[in-house]
Amino acid sequence: MSARRDTEPDTRVPWPLAVPAVLAVLFLLLPLSGLLLRTPWTELPQLLAEPAALQALRLSLITATAATALSLFLGVPLAWVLARSRRPGISLLRAFVTLPLVLPPVVGGVALLMAFGRRGIFGQYIYEYTGFSLPFTVWAVIIAETFVAMPFLVVTVEGALRSADRGLEEAAATLGSGPFATFRRVTLPLIWPSLIAGSVLTWARALGEFGATATFAGSFPGTTQTMPIYIYETMQSEPDAAIALSLVLLVVSVTVLALLRDRWLNSGTRL
């Protein structure tokens, strides 16, 4: 005992915490190992080379990337407003716009239908004047994914903006830089790591989106049938194919996590 430095805290884990902690680890990892054990490894290449599977994967990659781009375009300015504005009601606004974080995605899908469907409160006018209706189109998939995933970006970027060094922004302003130029040249580079982390998180959430997409966009190969929907439908007829595709999404998730871990560590030490 005396050998230990007095600055080091006791790191032994008391058993009332250790036992549930081990159970928690098992609980989280057993299903994943089940997936790995049940994966038909020998047939894997041919299951993944299935044109329908590739089509779903391609659609998922495209729509998740588009949803992330849309989230960046709309979400970063929103995050800036939430972090910098002193107007009353901002915290209420924040609560509303981050609601999709906790809202069940299928409810989001129903809400999107009520708003932007052909008979929706806004959608009916779009349909009336342009003859275009969103449901069953690839745009509906992108909108559903953006609705569910954008709050992840907003929350991440807002946090970074709040903890960013305001002194640099003020210095830029005193040197004659306008507010937007300051945002572009000073603020954005400052929050760069969080912007990347938020984008990756948003992309991953969009890639996994199921409920809102199935409800709002439907399911048709090549147009609206994304990977999660394809997995769900394949599970009913060919479980092996569904397991193989689940594995692909698992690998993607692990990769995302690995990427984020680096970013978070870096940004953590920098801020």
Binding site: R119, G218, F220, Q236
Partner: protein
């Protein structure tokens, strides 16, 4: 809601009438039945089995029938993966056969038949009057997914009629297909005649000529893994009884 209550009430009345008849086997053994069962039933049975479940519970106090509805293909897969169910009512013999082949059920009995109908929103925005209208390019048609019984039947109808229809969406089951029409998002869809009936005023039906229409048989069976085999058997008998047949007929099903 009032309509459902009325149907339930009439089912109860019918059940009471049929109580004493010879082919109502569980009528005399009501006192020995207790506990609960879970019934996995095709989505198209949502209303009729909902009513049958309530009527069965009312006739056998102390019993609880929990109903789980979904696409027959998905339910069959769940049963074969060990889902704790006592009775399976499928919208196709194919999905029942999958369960029988895996040893999860034996000796299914067909209790009803169903045929397809075109469902359109009440105001029929695309002016659908025949099957051929569905092949038009700007008509938004929704179908059940290809592996789901209603999706199999829908494609059979198109094949019989020799028309080529590209849907805008393949929905997970017949009820989600129907909801896209009730909401007016799609112009038309192929669902069962019973679904058009259950949707009430929100949708109207366009009949499919009998010579090209497809029908599907509904088999029911108790499951081997059932922890309450007596109650499961009693429920199946009830579905097959006169009272059950009357309820199914009210819903628009054809006799097997």
């Amino acid at each position: 809601m009032r309509k459902i209550a009325l149907i339930a009430a009439s089912a109860l009345a019918l059940a009471a009438c049929g109580g004493g008849s010879a082919d109502d086997p569980e009528a005399g053994s009501g006192d020995s039945l207790s506990g609960e069962i879970t019934v996995f039933a095709a989505a198209s049975l949502t209303e009729s089995f909902g009513n049958l479940g309530k009527a069965f519970e009312a006739e056998n106090p102390g019993t609880t029938v929990t109903l789980s509805f979904g696409p027959s293909s998905g339910l069959a897969e769940q049963i074969n993966s060990g889902a704790p169910a006592d009775v399976f009512a499928s919208a196709s013999t194919k999905n029942m056969d999958q369960v029988v082949e895996s040893g999860s059920a034996a000796d299914p009995v067909t209790f009803a038949n169903n045929t397809m109908e075109i469902a359109v929103p009440a105001d029929n925005p695309a002016k659908i009057t025949s099957l051929e209208d569905l092949a038009k390019k700007d008509v938004k048609v929704v179908l059940c997914a290809e592996d789901v019984p209603c999706g199999v039947s829908a494609r059979e109808v198109f094949k019989n009629a020799g028309i080529d229809v590209t849907p805008v969406s393949n929905e997970v089951d017949v009820k989600s297909t129907l909801s896209k029409i009730t909401l007016g998002e799609a112009d038309a869809g192929l669902v069962y005649v019973t679904d058009v009936k259950s949707a009430g005023e929100e949708v109207s039906g366009v009949e499919i000529p009998a010579d090209v229409n497809a029908s599907t048989a509904y088999p029911i069976a108790t499951l081997e893994e059932s922890k309450n085999a007596d109650l499961a058997k009693a429920f199946v008998d009830y579905v097959l009884s006169d009272a059950g047949a009357a309820e199914l007929e009210t819903a628009g099903f054809a006799k097997p």
